[in-house]
Amino acid sequence: MLLTVTTLAVLGVVASALSSRMGRWVFLLPAAASLAAAVWFGLQGPAVAAGAVLQERVEWMPSLGIAIDLRLGALQWLLAMVVLGVGGLIFVYCAWYFESRTLAARTVGLLTGFAASMLLLVLADDLIVLTIGWELTTIFSYLLVGLNHRSSSNRRAAQTALIVTTVGGLTMLTGIMLLEAETGTFSLAATLADPPRTAAAAWAAALMLVGALSKSAIVPFQYWLPGAMAAPTPVSAFLHAAAMVKAGVFLIAALTPAFVELPWWRWGLVTLGIATMLLGAVRAMRQLDIKVLLAHGTVSQLGLLVTVLGIGTQASMQAGLALLAAHAVFKAALFMVVGVVDRGTGTRDLRELGGLGRRMPVAAGAAILAAASMAGIPPMIGFLGKEAALDAALADAQGSLVAIGWVAFIGIAAGAALTVAYSLRLIVGVFFGRPGAEVAKRSPMLVAAPVALALLGLALGFAGDAISAALLPHAATVPAGEEAPHLALWHGLTPALGASALAWLAGAALHVALGGRRRAPQGQDPFERGYHASMRGLDRLAVEVTGRLQSGSLPLHLTTILLVVVAGPGVALLLAGALTADLRAYDTLGQVGTAIVIVVAAVFATTTRGRLKAFMLLSVVGYGVAFMFLLHGAPDLALTQALSETVFLVILVLVLRRLPKYFTDRPLRAARYLRALLGIAVGTFAALAALAALQARTATPSSAAFYEWAYDFGHGSNIVNVTLVDIRAWDTLGEVSVLLAAATGVASLIFVRRPVAGGSGVLRQPSKASRSRGFLAGSFGDASMDSPVLEMITRLLFPIMMLVSIYLLAVGHNEPGGGFAGGLVAGIALAVRYLAGGREELTEAVPFDAGKLLGGGMAVVIASVVWPILIGGRIGESYAIEATLPLLGDQKLVTTLFFDIGVWLIVFGAMLDFVRSLGAGIDLHGEQDLAPRPAWRSDRSLPGREVAQ
């Protein structure tokens, strides 16, 4: 069973890929798979009918009690046969229906995926897995309805279907959670074996029922189904007639044995079922588009199924399931005939159709047989089901459930009459009467599938005993009513037969009375209007709320957020009493001195108007914080902080040379005290939160074991570095991704729309062939500001700095250092080289694209995390390789070194991007008069001339 589900799922992907080569014939792949699986399931029939239950189980999330648990009982067998048998024929039909390659390509994958998820839905015993299949069918339905996404009404129809069924699905999930809380299991079989009788369980049943009703288009959710007819006709036949809409009916049938005795169960289902049945049938009689007519007919039939199941006895269960099978067979056939008519004549409008019986005799025959089944005329399977339903209703009316039985009996009979009327409207309107639209030639294979289904409906009409036997194991689980009598064409002169005969006459009379009226259909029903009104209300509410809260002012947004931080968690912090006076003033005296320096520098940085001055003060803060790290016992942090502060200072100066001397000063003076107040409040809250975090600590720090792990698993001595590259490698992976994105962002901001940059960020090689110069030859005369001495010294320094950088990388695992620090040192080396020699010097130092470094680094990082699974290890596991080398003695190579190398590459690439963009890129802007020019002693500058494309 699991094999079938996975085969279909895989086939969905494969078929999509193959469709460009095979065209529409690709549909024969899932058709063959479905039909083969249907044969296998069919062979299990006798065993299932004898009461056997097939099970397959794969553990999935044992800690949550969730398993992929498939169970094939009688009910599941019936649904699986519908999905695979009817579905297989629809796939065959598709191969001749679709003409265009693109539409076929998109449809085949989605339709096959749908078949897989529908099968998972009906076979799943685990309610969570069932929900997954359920939601997957919803999504496939959405995608298939919106297949022609260029039409706004199609998109709207798809959205309506999605929203209605998803709301139902989520409600059902809530019910399932509630049920699990009562029973302690997600297993449907276990729940049915020992159904809970609590009030909470009743609520759970009600919530799950809401999901079922929305999926099966029962009032008040019925309006999504006619809209879903925007999908191609085979899709409508499969999803919106045979299979998906049966999911809700399936769930009701599955839950009935457990919850049928709830006081509202029978009345609720019967009332809603009859309302749906009559509403759908009346609306079906008004339609002019025959496909939409069938859609409303489907709504009506689903109402009938729910009514019959809602009676809640053994006989009604048998009748309901027989009707379910009958409906799948005849409605799919009818939809496919509609597709044949559509393909042949190019229209589905009753006003243009007529007299097709002579020109399409085979299709007409199939349609008449199927419609006879729908109208409940012997000897079709539909007649069998309807008789049994009427019988079941009456059997109860004579028992303990008098009222409900009679209501159901009359409702079903009335629905049957209306069904006869709209069946006649369809058949007479299309196949008889005055000839209408012309018929084009089409492949005879197109009618094969509907003919097969129509004949199947006829054959099943004579197989009453076999059907009863197959359905018995499930029907017998219903705890009410007598054992169901076998389905048969002839029961003698019973009240049910009388009601049927009356329904035929009344339906025919109704059809004659209406005279096949050709009025255009009327608008929406109240439920649909309610849905659209609520969607509009939601949209209006969103606009109002956004308009009020989203002012568009950045300072105001930040203020709102920070005020909430102070008012919410801040007040909670004070009220919780987590703070105590248990404080240590300082660890070392050095901390006090440093703290004074950085606080003073920070305060002055906030008040100064000079741009450079402010950032110099910020540097003081930065280096001060680095010293604080050192005093705290964090040499890695101190090293990284000092290096990154240096890098930032360099790139800052590179930018500042083009910016005005003073900050732009906005007239925010009145607000500055308020801002200061908010700043102090947030700062105080942050400090108190940090204090409370430590004071309130009761658990052992999660890093307590890192000391042992670092050496035992990480094979390194520097615990911080082992944490970065091994224990918490995923964090680092995310972080270097941020670095990569930021570096690319900087480059794009500078090189935006610049034809100067060859490729992605490589500056064009300078025309003066500087590459041919000697190692220590300066670039004399390149620019007046160059300093040959500085340039030569940096050329000497560059290899040394790179060596330091690689040294830091290499020792990082055991001593302070690592990929980050190493990469930053390399970045500083680049910056120095650029400062001394200009952009040509930079190109010479690194004659390739920064993007290659970044991408290569990322590849190394990911590969070094993932590779252990190739040798059967876990992702991120590290290994130590020890070897004795000729000159170096005993050496140990830890595999996480490669991770660090990747980090180094990314940091180095980012630095290269920074220097190249903010240094060389801005130089180029300056030469081409694109850079901003600071106005003298002003806070503004003149914008650079925008470059023409």
Binding site: S151, S152, N154, A157, A230, P232, T233, G346, Q524, R536, V543, R548, Q550, G552, D582, T588, Q591, V592, A595, I598, V599, A605, T606, R611, L618, V621, G622, V625, M628, F629, H632, A634, L637, F648, F663, T664, D665, G679, G683, A686, L688, A690, L694, S702, S703, N718, T723, R728, D731, T732, E735, G745, L749, I750, N814, L918, I922, A931, R940, G944
Partner: protein, 147 residues
């Protein structure tokens, strides 16, 4: 455990100064605010990490080393702050290049939404349902194929 007051004071002060600058409209000042606040929060990490100690390197006394996990977190934070700062710097430069200043203007889209709210209109994405608009049921037929 007993936290160190001086670190909390310094961290809080840097955060406060940073927030003050973050509430400005000039991108360069926002950048300064971001750097100050990041430094402040990094210091507060040290507070929450526990007392100062020896460098967390195997071989030192395990009882006396500083907690390594917050250090690893702060290390990544430092590098990310550098990257974010560089990006803001480039944005500020670009703004000067285009506008001659680097002030963050109010969002235009938000103003449009506000006007729609005042006029009691639905959002731009919402399409009003017209009774004539029947769903196109032809998508599987030729109409869909023709495209």
């Amino acid at each position: 455990m007993t936290p160190t007051l001086i670190l909390a004071v310094a961290g809080g002060a840097l955060t406060a100064a940073g927030v003050y600058l973050l509430l400005e409209r000039s991108l360069m000042r926002i950048l300064a605010g971001l750097m100050l606040a990041s430094n402040g929060v990094n210091l507060l990490f040290l507070v929450a990490a526990g007392p100062a100690g020896l460098a967390p390197i195997v071989g030192q006394d395990p009882e006396q080393i500083a907690d390594p996990l917050p250090q690893a977190m702060v290390l990544t934070a430092i590098v990310i702050t550098l990257a974010a700062s560089a990006l803001l710097l480039a944005m500020s430069y670009r703004s000067f290049q285009l506008e001659g200043h680097d002030e963050v203007a109010d969002d235009v889209e938000d103003a449009i939404v506000r006007r729609r709210a005042e006029a009691d209109l639905s959002s731009e994405a919402y399409v009003e349902l017209t009774p004539e608009a029947q769903p196109d049921t032809e998508s599987g037929g030729r109409a869909g194929d023709a495209r």
